[in-house]
Amino acid sequence: MKPNLKVKIGKLELKNPIMVASGTFGYGEEFHKNFYDISKLGAVVTKGISLKPRLGNKTPRVAETASGMLNSIGLQNVGLRAFITEKLPFLQRVHATTIVNILGEKIEDYVELAQTLDEEPGVHAIELNISCPNVKAGGVQFGTDPKLAAKVTSSVKKKIKKPLIVKLSPNYHDMPLMAKHVVDAGADALSIMNTITGMAIDAEKRRPVLANVFGGLSGPAIKPIALRMVCQVYMASKKQRPIVGIGGIMNITDVVEFLLAGSSAVQIGTANFINPTIAADLVDQLEQYMIDHDIADIKELTGGLIV
């Protein structure tokens, strides 16, 4: 019998738990044109969208590290208007399940973005990227202050009907506490996790490799940390919300590990750069894994860790 790969994120039902992570898949066109039908994925999470287009940081913006990479793209994106007129129609036409990742400099930005996107039929859910500095609060990141994170979550939640996913930043140390605040504020699901701030230095030039000095670390190097955070939040949370596990997933074993740790779905990020067909391959491989392991429903894997 064909196993059931469907998962629910709030009211949204996904074909399967394999999504692609924000910022590592553009707006889907390149992958669809060159590699595979992106409607096959559980969902496409777009590059983070802001109200106005953003230029992003100076270059170099990327650097390789041991089993990972740093990026300081600076959230370059086309902005809300261009996204709706130029990018969304394509995603809608190819029937991609689309989750829009949004980012702002103040709570009002998030609310306006979310409200506008809530009206767009091509948008299936909204992912709040709170790893951004709050310009109104002296630049402290929304994602490193549980109260602020709760506030932006509830402000957005009040105004939209579509499922709201909040993407947590590992740059705050107490994940269960952060998760509790955000869930109490109305998040339908949690994405765990964004990149960890790091840096690379060119010893010969005596300069940071990234023009921005600091950048976000992603890739297999961070997988043990991401798995721990997913597991901690899953074990601590009473009001259980689906967790979307993210961080260094490269293969089917990694996917299963994140599910066992407590994820309902996963996002494939940097791996898309290493192997452009990986996300589609993983959809097939996950189905095969379930058949081989006699698992009828993907939900059996979520939180299936024996501790």
Binding site: G23, T24, F25, G26, E30, F31, N34, F35, K47, L55, G56, T59, P60, R61, V62, A63, E64, T65, A66, S67, G68, M69, N71, I73, Q76, G219, P220, T270, N272, F273, I274, N275, P276, T277
Partner: protein, 262 residues
């Protein structure tokens, strides 16, 4: 663009620390100036590495030429023939030959920048009078010059400069280019196709800007890349409007006047 598992047919030291690699890609077509992203075995290189396409034969054999500069290229140089490598390509916007039709074609190369110009020259000789094609090629010394025989055979104009004068003129190839533009062809419409170090490209942009006969000056740019797919926005350079454009998508070849970063 496709991601192909390609068998290594050749991987040899060519000269100094330049290596030549041939891969059974099976691809049918490419535009000179396009590049590939190669997954480097050995475990030390997490990201793929970009290399310009030197040639693609009728049998789909891909040739690249790389200089060992760091851990990735060092590891690549010791991968045995017969190994399969994951190669993504052809990537990006190559040289636009059509803009040069009827013009004098001036190719300018520095270092491994010669590789994509080989493919370009092979395409140009199909379309243009060989005497209207000139290659300006600069290197440290004689030992660092690549593909010279191939270019000689094509019968195009060759202008070599080495820093130590061991072959051709002594000095910078851009000085040779300046002299050439002042003398011979200063009244003929010309197109420049250049690939090489950032500094060289900057000098060429200046030269082109001052010379009204140069209708198109196409520069092949480099930058740090993560995806090569156009999705990460890691590889951008600034265009003349102040916007960031992707080297792997809008480039690597740009009209000089459309760039502000150089």
């Amino acid at each position: 663009m496709q991601d192909t598992k390609a068998k290594i047919l050749l991987n040899e030291r060519y000269r100094q620390n330049y290596f030549m690699m041939r891969l059974e890609a099976g691809w049918e077509d490419f535009v000179p100036g396009q590049f590939v992203m190669v997954a480097v075995p050995g475990g030390k290189s997490f990201l793929r590495r970009p290399f310009g396409i030197a040639r693609l034969t009728g049998e789909g054999i891909l040739e690249i030429c790389y200089k060992v500069v760091g851990k990735g290229t060092l590891d690549l140089s010791s991968v045995p023939v017969g190994t399969n490598l994951q190669v993504l390509g052809p990537i990006g916007k190559g040289f636009d030959i059509s803009k040069g039709t009827g013009n004098i074609s001036i190719l300018v190369a520095g270092g491994y920048g010669i590789a994509p110009l080989l493919g370009l020259a092979e395409a140009l000789v199909q379309e243009e009078d060989r005497s209207n094609i000139h290659l300006f090629y600069g290197a440290q010394n004689e030992e660092h010059l690549l593909y010279l025989d191939e270019f000689k055979e094509m019968g195009i104009g060759l202008h070599v400069a080495t820093q130590d004068g061991s072959l051709g003129a002594k000095g910078l190839v851009t000085d040779e280019l300046k002299k050439f533009l002042l003398s011979t062809i200063n009244h003929q419409p010309s197109t420049i196709f250049a690939c090489g170090p950032h500094g060289m490209l900057g000098a060429i942009k200046m030269i082109a800007a001052k010379n009204r006969n140069i209708s198109s000056c196409q520069l092949s740019m480099e930058s740090y890349m993560a995806c090569g797919l156009g999705v990460c926005a890691g590889c951008v350079v600034k265009d003349s409007l102040g916007n960031f454009v992707r080297v792997c998508k809008e480039g690597p070849v740009f009209e000089a006047r459309e760039l502000s970063d150089i």
